[in-house]
Symmetry: C2
């Protein structure tokens, strides 16, 4: 294989461009003509690679979840066996936040548009999303078993609130103001508040 001049396939350029448009404009405000023009082909060419707009959306969605799942898993595993469960949670939070705010368009494209996709597209994305959810559930369960999270805390609600706080970040984040690291740290500290030694809730 030639080391230089790696030309991306048209299919890959369609996916990359679609992810960027979906992230920045949303599904409805992204037309097949927009994508074609960005790439420098005609609309009909896209239909050689994807049978429909929904099929294209579905594929970008799948990639988006798989990317963030892989980054989070890698970040946690990079800590090694001796890391505390609080450290593992913090690493997972940082990785997820960075995936949503970084240069990869696929993950934010998924998170920001999933609820506005058709039921068919959502259904086909369900398994890969559920798999990622189970990974977080396992992290939280291990933390609770280890005493990092109090025994009476509802892990299901905790997980959904935690991921929700992160998934909402793209709605308000402006690059240059708050760093992804500071955001992740603040959230990690909130989760740490669920520890058994934390003050009981008032009222």
């Amino acid at each position: 294989m030639p080391a230089e001049v790696k030309v991306k396939s048209t299919r890959q350029r369609i996916l990359d461009t679609a992810a960027a448009w979906f992230r920045n404009k949303g599904l409805a405000f992204t037309s097949m003509a927009d994508l074609a023009e960005s790439i420098g082909v005609k609309t009909s060419s896209i239909y050689y690679h994807f049978e429909s707009k929904d099929a294209l959306i579905e594929e970008t969605f799948r990639i988006g979840i798989e990317l963030v799942h892989a980054k989070v898993r890698d970040a946690v595993e990079a800590l090694g066996e001796n890391a505390t469960h609080q450290e593992r949670l913090t690493a997972a939070i940082k990785a997820h936040v960075n995936a949503l705010l970084g240069e990869n368009d696929y993950s934010p494209a998924n998170i920001m548009n999933f609820s506005h996709a058709t039921p068919e597209v959502r259904a086909k994305n369900n398994e890969v999303r559920a798999s990622y959810g189970r990974y977080w559930a396992s992290l939280l369960k291990a933390a609770q078993r280890d005493g990092v999270i109090a025994a009476d805390v509802d892990l299901s609600i905790t997980r959904l609130l935690l991921i929700g706080a992160m998934n909402w970040i793209p709605e308000w984040y402006e690059s240059g103001r708050k760093s992804p690291e500071a955001i992740a740290e603040c959230l990690s500290r909130m989760v740490h508040g669920l520890a058994p030694s934390a003050p009981e809730k008032a009222g």
Copy 2:
């Protein structure tokens, strides 16, 4: 005024119906024809009351924020002067969560669709949203001044993460599974974890 037979004006029925459709289907999947048919009028009639679809969206958005702002403020003020700042935060969280999960369609319609509206619509909604944001900022600032939140916690990030965790709830909430109260309590407990006495974050 007659006590019974209060017939809602067409304008009000358009707004109510639009809020419900925007909440359940999203902006792009709600056509003016859908709304007209739901109400029992013709599409053109809507244009007598609203000059465009965007104008209709903008009005439902404004109502949605004003409603949740009023409910949160009322819930906090109902506590009286002697309530602790933790109690005030908990009451605010409960009120916001209930507004997003309750029968009022306007607030969830706004929250779930704001980022998919046109820049013009978003801009016109900015002031009322900023006002609501300032209210939360004042709640958190008072809590920090009172020692309920540690002095080194970034209140701006905290506010955005907290509201984000709540605003994401409609994405995963299924009525009948977890109660709004249990969700609000879990989140309140997380915020309580930001207290000075809470364990310091790990590594």
